[in-house]
Homo-oligomer: 250 residues x 2
DNA sequence: ACAAAAGTGTTCGGGTTACACCCATGG
DNA sequence: CCATGGGTGTAACCCGAACACTTTTGT
């Protein structure tokens, strides 16, 4: 073994991976419009999906895995996550947050590898633009095949974080565009939490939270009474988004 | 530059650091007994402290820093944190959880370094056994000097996590021994949250939570009515302790 | 006019807050 | 017996769940 090999073998590899969440119809259709909160109505209820990439080299060649790659010397961890996302799925996520660092000794059969994992939320229109192919496909987050390495564990943890954080933070708007109706926003909550919500109480909770405000516009062309449009105010902090925003709103 | 040097320089260094929290008297006394919940009584109120080590080599030589070190090839991230804790402070923490991975490009002026940071809670009697010296000292968490690297930011974030988590999880018992009185437990909450709590309501909340149970014993020798002793039941999950315990109690 | 979704009002019950009050012990 | 903290009781209050009801549109 040469000096060069020794030095390489003695270093711990540092990678990033990202769990990308988007809402799609339960049957897998790309869903151009946001989820319109119809639990058992004409619309199929939306569910949480994520894109995976097929590994094309050993180890674990052929298995589906989270998009990711090695961290370069001149990029931050989040920068590496964004670069890999752009390279593999052409996505620029609305929301991106560090999830956890996975570093068990034997998590990769090849060499010692530590992965800093991020999780991301993207809008349905963004998700529809992902270039699918033989090696990039969407999967329902609650029903995954056996993935490479410890990626099943990682996705389960990310999904748990998404669902628990949805209940105390204002991340739901990351699944929507700038303007949205309360029914669309409620549809996001129902899709993620997998339970119906009372429209009346949901409206009051959102209005009293100060997280949203009416834009003044309405959505015409629907079959029924035109709903008001709202936007996210930004007044409410997204708590626990990392060490740079550690403060709870006063 | 030889091949060996190139390989070494091209790798990203992986380190672990730990923010260790303990409760001590506001004046810095090591406090043999747990905090007995006397906000403005005879006892000085307890506050959150942490041990720091003085750097004895460049870069940032002479500055105070979090205990930590490089991750070895054959140890997990948490294993590396525990080993470094034992080596520098001889502490075996009751509670240890991953906090965040810090990896900005310029966070270390020397070489590219990514630090996976853990946070720990230790009991007062353990904390008192830390071998102090010229290069290991306790500091109040809310009033730190300028630390090495980005360690001020890290401690602030850890402190925020401690305080927010105290409000929805059952981590307070990690500051206490196996048996404790309700006044001692309340003292922990008051010290961390920095506000007085109603003894009557605190008692009912703890009893109804199912997190504690009476041992049957009482503390005699006090000046007043002997308080009952309680123990932590373990029925209540410590939520958000990482991907291995991602489930909320039913 | 009717269906269906948008939006409002009201009641009910559990949980938290504030504080009055009794209990037990050492001095 | 009194001061002090341990421990119990209780009424006011807040907030979310449940659901009846009104409004507004397209067909």
């Amino acid at each position: 073994m040469s000096n060069s090999d020794a030095a390489r073998a003695a270093s711990i590899g540092l990678a990033v991976s990202t769990v990308i969440f988007a809402l799609r119809d339960a049957d897998g259709a790309p869903r151009a419009t946001p989820p319109s909160a119809g639990g058992q109505g004409t619309d199929a209820p939306a569910t949480v999906w994520l894109p995976l990439v097929r590994r094309i080299r050993e180890p674990q060649c052929g298995r589906w895995a989270l998009p990711g790659g090695m961290v370069e010397l001149d990029e931050s961890l989040e920068g590496a996550a964004r670069r890999n996302l752009a390279e593999t799925t052409e996505l620029q996520p609305t929301y991106l947050e560090q999830l956890y660092a996975f570093g068990d000794v034997n998590r990769s059969p090849d060499r010692r590898l530590v992965s800093v994992v991020y999780w991301a939320l993207v809008r349905p229109d963004e998700a529809a633009q992902v270039t699918l192919g033989e090696n990039v496909q969407w999967f329902p987050a609650d029903d995954l095949p056996e993935l490479a390495f410890d990626h099943n564990l990682i996705v389960d943890y990310a999904l748990w974080r998404l669902r628990t954080k949805m209940e105390y933070s204002a991340i739901a708007h990351a699944f929507l565009g700038d303007e949205f109706t309360l029914a669309e926003l409620r549809g996001v909550y129902e899709a993620v939490l997998q339970k119906p919500l009372d429209p009346a109480n949901f409206r009051r909770q959102m209005e009293s939270s100060g997280a949203i405000e009416a834009t003044g516009g309405v959505v015409t062309g629907g079959r029924h009474r035109p709903p008001k449009l709202y936007r996210y105010t930004g007044d409410v902090q997204l708590v626990d988004a990392g060490p740079l925003t550690p403060r709870i709103p006063a």
